[in-house]
Structure formats: C-alpha cells, structure tokens
Amino acid sequence: MKQTKEKRYSFAKETFARLMKNKLAVFGLFVLCVLVLTAVFADHIAPYAYDEMDLLNAYQSPGSGHIFGTDEFGRDIFSRVVYGSRISLKVGFIAVGISVVAGGLLGAVAGYYGGWTDNLIMRAMDVIMSIPATLLAISIAAALGAGLTNLMIATGIASIPTYARIVRASVLGIKEQEFVEAARAVGTRDFTILCKHILPNCLAPIIVQATLGVAFAILTAAGLSFIGLGIEPPTPEWGAMLSNARTYIRDYSYMCLFPGLAIAITIFSLNVLGDGLRDALDPKLRQ
C-alpha cells in the first residue's frame, strides 16, 4: 500500500526527473535543443547566405572572417553547416515520423488481431528487413529520383519494419492484460481499445527507438546525399557537403571536418539521449 502516499508526480514528470540524473543524456538533450534553435534561427545566426559565392576568397582556412573557412566557391562553411542543420533535422524527424506512423500502425494491427493478419504483415516486414536498410533506402531513392521529399520517404520506408516489430511485440504483451479485457467488457470497440489503451501503453519503447531512429535517418540521408541521391546543390546538406569536400581532403581537410563533426555530434547526442530515455523509462526502475 506504499502507493497511497501523496505523490503528485505524473508519469512524465518522474521520467523526466530520472532522465535529468543521467549527465550524458542531459548533454544529448542540450545539444539537440541547441541544434533545433540553430535550425529555427539559421537566418540570424549565419553570417552569409548559404549560396553566396565569393570566388576571390575560395579555399580560405578557418579563421577570422570565416570561422569554418570557405569552400571551393568561396561559400562560408559555417553558414552552410548552420543552414544544413535545417535539412538534416527535417529529414531526421520527418523520416522517423513516416516510419513510426506506418510501422506503428502495421505492428499494432498485426499484434492485436494476430492470426493470418499478423502473418501477412510480419512476413512482408521480414522481406523488407532481409534487405539492408541503407541499401533499401538507396534503391528507393534511386527509383524515386533525387530530392528532399524522396530522400525522406526512402529513409522512412527503410526503417518501417523496425518499428512494426517493436510495436507488435509490446502490443502482444499488453493485449493480454486484464484492463484490455475490462475495456472489452464495457463495450469499447476494438479500434478504440487499440488507440486509447494499447498504444499509449507501448509508447516507451517507441520513443526510445524513435530517438535512436532520428540518428539513423540523418546518417542514411547523409549517406544518400554523399552518393548523390539526396539533396541537389546548392542546398546545403551535411552529407552532400562531405561528399563534395572529399575531393579536397588532402589540401583543405577542414572542408570535410566541419560537416563531419556536425553529423557526428548530432548522432552522438541523439544516441546518448535515446539511451538515457531507455533507462529512464525502464519499468524495472519504476516505483
């Protein structure tokens, strides 16, 4: 009966408090916030426009004037990295959005109804899963053609099976619980039970996977841009910038360094945040 005590913390608050104890996760959250702010206020932060060329000042090393240096067209790399955060975050979140919604729905239906529905959906997922995700994204992007939208769709589709599996597994466990039976006993529809009772209960693993998934999506998008299937120039995208700069890696290595660092830091912070969230949401730690 320890739970009767006045404990006005809601579940979200508790989780957040536990997350705050994990220093690495806090760091991840902080970096992510900075990144989002950078993307939102890119116009005010970047000293130059991302496509402003200045051929006289090409190949400038990092230093005064251009803190990250300039590229082969004299474009300010700092400004391009700042603007690039918009694309990367957009790709990351929208692609994950696509896969969470589609994968979540498929997984939930498969887990809840079971039987042949389950078999049909999960075997289809197995087929998709048998192709390496990056390779699949490449082929989808190649089929749809280059461009931001197609890039997001390609990375989104490639990770649908991961979410479908996670959601299906949690639904399988939750649908056997008595409160689901109770909901059915009061005359709730199947669909309502699924949306209002089962899905909210398997949110924790989805959130964790989604955080890690954003990192994967950014990386895949960068990879696709690197091989020329992503964003069209002159739009700055970290992967594309990296790809472009590899030609000059011997003489002007800083051109690779900064977009590379941007990708690495973003992925790292998302990963530690995901790990932290997983620990904070771990049911074994709940009181």
Partner: protein, 327 residues
C-alpha cells in the same frame, strides 16, 4: 422471481494444437432479477469462462462456444450482432475483474477511465461525464479530487473500489464479479464486500459472484451454484445448500472447511485431483473421487435431480437419505 438470465447447456472448449480443453460442459444456470448468485468451484472449474461467455468476450481463438444458449432478458446473447452486443456490455451487464492491479489502464487517470464507460453508453458531454465520474468515486468512498490521479497512486483496495465504480457507473442490470476480493487482504476484503452489498441494495442489480470462498457466499448470496469440471453439479438457495448439501462434491467441500470448535490435527481434503480438463471422466465427472461411487456413476451422466423447487443436484443418489453425514 422471473429468470432474467438463463444459461442452457453451455459448452465451451479451448483448442491448442491437437489438445482440446473442455472448460465448460453442458452448463445450466439461472439468475433471477435482483438476485445474488454465488458461483463456487475450484480453480479451473470454468467459472471465469462462463462469465466471459455471458459477455461474449471469450478470446476466440482459442476458445470456441460449441453449443448452448444464454438468454438475457428474453434475448439470445449468441444471436445478437456485435453492435447490439456492445450496447449490452457495460450498460446492461458489467463485470468486475479479479485483479484490480491489472484491470485498470496504467496510463490513464482514474476519472478518465470512469468517463470512458459513461461516454460509451450515455449521451452527455465530457464535463457531465467527469462530474458523474466524481459522483461515482464518492459512492465507492473515494474523494472526488482523486479522479485526476493515476492507478499507481492508489492502493489495491482503492483500485478495486475504482473498478466497482466503473462497473456501476451505467447502473447495469447484471453485475458479474469475478473473484473481486481474491487479490486483496482479509480486512480490505471485508470492506469491499460490505461496499458491494450496500451498492447492490442501492442499485438493485442482480449479481453473479464468482468465488471459491464459501464464507463470502454465505454472507451475501441468495442462491449458490456449485461448479465441478465445467458444469454445475448442485444449485439451490443458500439455506438449502448449506443445510443440506446433496452432491458428494458439495458435501466434501463443506467437510474440508476446518471446524474452529474442534481440535483438528489435519485438514480434511477431497482425495484425488480435479479432473484433467482435456480428459473429463465418463459418466459423472466426480466419480473417481466420490466415496459413494457405483457402477452406474461410471457410465451414466447424471441428470439434475430436483429436491425441491429450486434445489437440484446432478447426482443419481441425491435423493437418498442417511448418507448425508453433514446435517
């Protein structure tokens, strides 16, 4: 008293692979209006399965209703469409589940869960529903301010009160309580029983109380059905059954209750084990454990023998006097 729930020959089995588990076999039962029926039997006797079939929420597969009828208010439950059935669930027949720890959704506030029931069956705004939810909480003895708290902030007994509040929020005509106090400790059990007794009076609903505690039955039930191996072996009003049990299984159940006034070193037990539900004995299912077993018992399935208008037992020797050493 008019029968408003009647079950005739209900047969349910669970299939897993090649095994067939005969959970309910040819079960007959009736509940009158405003009456409390105690539904007694050991674990695995098919009590919960029967309850779930009344609401038609058996998990199918693996469960399958093979035959029988459930007549509720002159309607055949198995003949209704899913839509008509949803209208009955919760509004006309409500169920209280065994374990209050798991029968509430952990991510929704208690008030929301009561509201859900009200909004499903009554035409009213969210605000009114919330108001009613608060009223219901007060009815079961919980402050209405606690409606915005989550289930994990309640104790076991409190949670069961909430479950009862949900079940009663639409004033159901029939309440099925599936071992409502099994998961609670004894003092809380008493409180919950008291509450249910009180609310039963207030709402005038009929009730099926599933339990394996004969003490609880004596306390609040009008009639008792004793269940063994998926069918009702004896049925009658509480007085008849407790005074003059006629089925050997019922007698054995009463014998196994320890007498506090006598010095007893060992508890009396019923010899043998409950039958394997995949392989129910022929004839009378109780015959391998019955002290009065005859050759006829092994082959012939006993019909109900009426001892008076309401009291019957499925035993061919039910009418024989003198072998009842209990009375």
């Amino acid at each position: 008293m008019k029968d408003f729930l009647r079950i005739e020959g209900l047969t349910v089995e669970y299939r897993s692979g090649n095994r067939r588990v005969h959970a309910v076999n040819d079960l007959d039962l009736q509940v009158g209006e405003g009456e409390v029926l105690g539904f007694v039997g050991e674990t695995g006797a098919g009590k919960t399965t029967t309850a779930l079939s009344i609401l038609r929420i058996l998990p199918d597969p693996p469960a399958k209703v093979l035959g029988g009828k459930v007549i509720f208010k002159d309607k055949d439950i198995f003949g209704l469409s899913e839509r008509e059935m949803r209208a009955i669930r919760g509004e006309e027949i409500a169920m209280i589940f065994q374990d209050p720890m798991t029968s509430l959704d952990p991510v929704k506030t208690v008030g929301d869960q009561i509201c859900e029931m009200i909004l499903l069956h009554q035409r009213c705004s969210k605000k009114e529903a919330w108001q009613k939810a608060g009223d219901m909480l007060e009815t079961v003895g919980i402050d209405r301010e606690r409606a915005s708290e989550y289930p994990h902030q309640f104790s076991g007994g409190m949670k069961q009160r909430v479950v009862i509040a949900i079940a009663l929020s639409c004033k159901p005509a029939l309440l099925i309580a599936d071992e409502p106090t099994t998961a609670l400790d004894v003092t809380i059990q008493a409180q919950i029983l008291e509450l249910m007794k009180e609310l039963k009076k207030q709402y005038q609903s009929s009730m099926i109380l599933i339990t394996h505690d004969l003490g609880i039955v004596a306390e609040i039930c009008d009639n008792v059905a004793i269940m063994y191996a998926g069918s009702v072996v004896e049925y009658g009003n509480v007085f008849d059954i407790y005074k003059d049990p006629r089925h050997p299984y019922t007698q054995a159940l009463f014998d196994s209750i320890p007498d506090v006034h006598r010095d007893q070193d060992r508890l009396k037990v019923i010899t043998g084990l409950p039958p394997d539900p995949t392989d129910i004995p022929s004839g009378c299912p109780f015959h391998p454990r019955c002290p009065h077993c005859t050759e006829r018992c092994k082959t012939e399935r006993p019909e109900a023998v009426y001892l008076n208008e309401t009291h019957w037992a499925r035993c061919i020797q039910a009418r024989e006097e003198g072998r009842n050493d209990n009375g």
